[in-house]
């Protein structure tokens, strides 16, 4: 089922009358059966957006459509959503079985069918043997699975996940990531996934939305967003190690770095913000010569530090291409991997 947000806005007013726009004019269409990640730094309004879709928070203005139905004013239980919380929100006094059964109690389901559904769902998420246990007797990953089963058992139209992996340790997180992806594929349910971890979002989602201060920055497939960021914020937010950003001038269609022309670019003259990802640099004999400030060997790659226009810049290059006591290095970078942003709007100018 398709999910559509139209000019969704949420304004919080605190006691002193100060207004904060937690979500600002969000306009997104999520296609049926996709897994979409809502990504952004903490406080960017991603959880508020999720709770507005769930119906737990009332939007200030704008509309939410599930398919053709306008659900903006509908109570949460009538929307047909499943919600998984960061801390799982399992009822601690009920067994796993009762926890999963609980949503069905409030629906029109015969008891036998309800039991059947609970068992099916438990098997789907892989906790079929743990039905008699209390949540406190489960590990974090198992609790997470129970929470997902509880959200899915009522056959919701949309599954909403609010930072579901952030309470897990690193190894479990990887495993649960794949698990969520698998469950989503098997059920084919439209899923929205909130996270602040860009790596997690990129690995799990079909498409992702990057938010900052409640505003949509870009809505695209993960790899496209990585390769063609719309603006400096998105470019900075994605990628680890982060993108190198520095100021540079364009003179006569040439990018000037360290008072030398670096490469030809097809933008008007002026001062710009330039971004280059560390892993996009290559060592090449016809490259641009720079003085090395520092070298770190990290296994397969070598990290070199140097200065572009007074800013520290990092490059991740093949270890084989470097020797230990090198003082300078010759570097190149593909033109389509150089991002030039407008100084004022932050929008990219050299990509279509």
């Amino acid at each position: 089922m398709e999910l559509r947000l139209e000019n969704l806005t949420k304004v919080f007013t605190n006691k002193t009358g100060q207004e904060t726009r937690a979500v600002d004019n969000l306009d997104i269409t999520i296609e049926s059966g996709t897994l979409v990640a809502l990504l952004g730094p903490s406080g960017c309004g991603k959880s508020t957006t999720l709770f507005m879709i769930a119906g737990l928070v009332k939007p200030t203005s704008g509309k939410i459509f599930f398919g053709e139905d306008d659900v903006t004013k509908l109570a949460p239980e009538k929307r047909g959503i499943g919600l998984v919380f960061q801390n799982y929100a399992l009822y601690p006094h009920m067994t796993v079985f009762k926890n999963i059964l609980f949503p069905l109690e409030n629906m029109d389901v015969p008891r036998d069918e309800a039991f059947q559904r609970v068992k099916e769902m438990a098997n789907l998420v892989g906790i079929g043997e743990l039905l008699d246990r209390k949540p406190s007797q489960l590990s974090g990953g198992q609790q997470q699975r129970v929470a997902i089963a509880r959200a899915l058992v009522k056959k919701p139209r949309v599954l909403l996940l609010d930072e579901p992996l952030s309470n897990l340790d690193a190894r479990l997180r990887l495993q649960m990531r794949e698990e969520i992806k698998r469950i989503q594929r098997e059920t084919g349910i439209t899923t929205i996934f909130v996270t602040h971890d860009q790596e997690e979002a990129m690995s799990i989602s079909d498409k992702m939305v990057v938010l900052d201060f409640g505003k949509e920055q870009q809505y695209d497939a993960p790899q496209d967003m990585y390769n063609q960021p719309d603006n400096l914020f998105v470019a900075r937010f994605l990628g680890n190690p982060p993108i190198n950003a520095f100021e540079a001038e364009v003179k006569n269609k040439k990018l000037i770095i360290n008072n030398k022309p670096f490469m030809n670019v097809n933008v008007p003259d002026g001062l710009y913000d330039v971004g280059m990802r560390p892993e996009n640099f290559r060592v090449h004999e016809k490259g641009f010569e720079t003085e090395i400030k520092d070298i770190f060997h990290i296994g397969r790659d070598t990290m070199i530090h140097f200065e572009f226009n007074g800013k520290n810049v990092r490059a991740l290059v093949d270890s084989d291409s470097m020797t230990d006591n090198q003082k300078t290095v010759l570097l190149t970078i593909k033109p389509e991997r150089v991002y030039i942003f407008d100084k004022e709007t932050g929008k990219v100018v050299n990509h279509a």
């Binding site: 029109d108 015969p110 008891r111």
Partner: protein, 360 residues
Amino acid sequence: MRNLIKNVKGFLIKIGNIIKTFFWNVRRIINNFKRKISNFLDKHKINPAGKFPGWAKALLYLSPALIILAVFTFWPIINSFALVVYENYNMTNNTITGYTIFGNFLRVLTDESFIVPASHTASSAVINTLIIVFISVPISIFIALGVSVALNAIKPLKGFFQTIYFLPYVTNTIAIGLVFAYMFRTDGGLVNQFIGLFGVDTAGLSWVESNAVYWRSMFVLIFYSIWSALAFKIMVFLTSIQGIDKQYYQAAAIDATPKGRIFSKITVPLISPMIFYITVTSVIGAFKIYNAIVALFGVQGAPPGVNYNLQSIVMYIYQFIDGSKEGQLSVAAAGSLILFAIILVLTIVQMQVSKKRVHY
């Protein structure tokens, strides 16, 4: 045999299932009904929740408690300020003869046996109360601290001792008071027997019966109040001592700190907020001592045939509450407002001090 058990078990499970299914279906019907109502409301664009603001819902939940509190808590507070300005309030006829501002307070403060001992007695309510407060509170806190530190130091039998020390908390004050009075009997009382073991002549050594000396009956009262107050204090101190981070003790052990210094330099300072809190609450509690006196000495508050009284302030107030004479309830109200003032001062002192933190 095994089959029989299995059959019985299966049968019971079946019955349980039938009952559970029945309730499940009832819930389904109710849910369906609810859904129909809400669909109907949705269709006609009626939103009852919107017309039903938060405070109305809160009022619904709060009303049972608030009604009772209004009648039996808030109204008495207001009414006692009214009572103290009435002159000769008569409860049975609900009449007064006039108003007075300080009359009832003056009556309490100048009453013989409230502050100043009357000519025929040797003590007054305030003197008695202060003696109880200043002797029983420090002693009981000291003992409770000692016991809880000792309890914290041991491992075997800890739970056993803890349970025993807690017993006084769960007893009826009157009942055990009667036992104490019995134990302190002159002839054949357990205490006199015990003292007799050390060669003391116990003939006519009376504690709570006629001809008991003031200090002796006061001793029994203080002993009983300490005995019954220990349980709570030990419990609270033990909880807070156990809450102290073990690292402090480990650090002290590595520095070879003697046990006495650990107690005075680590344990006491770290639980000092709790000690202070308990001090204030037990001072307030000691001001309100009543049941213990009644249990030991009867409603008169004195052993028979003596020329003093062991009344506390609260007991002094209660002697006016039977409404049999005109104006007595007003005096009682005045007395209780004075008590309230004392407690208020103590509480404010406690709040101020704990704001500054008694720590370290």
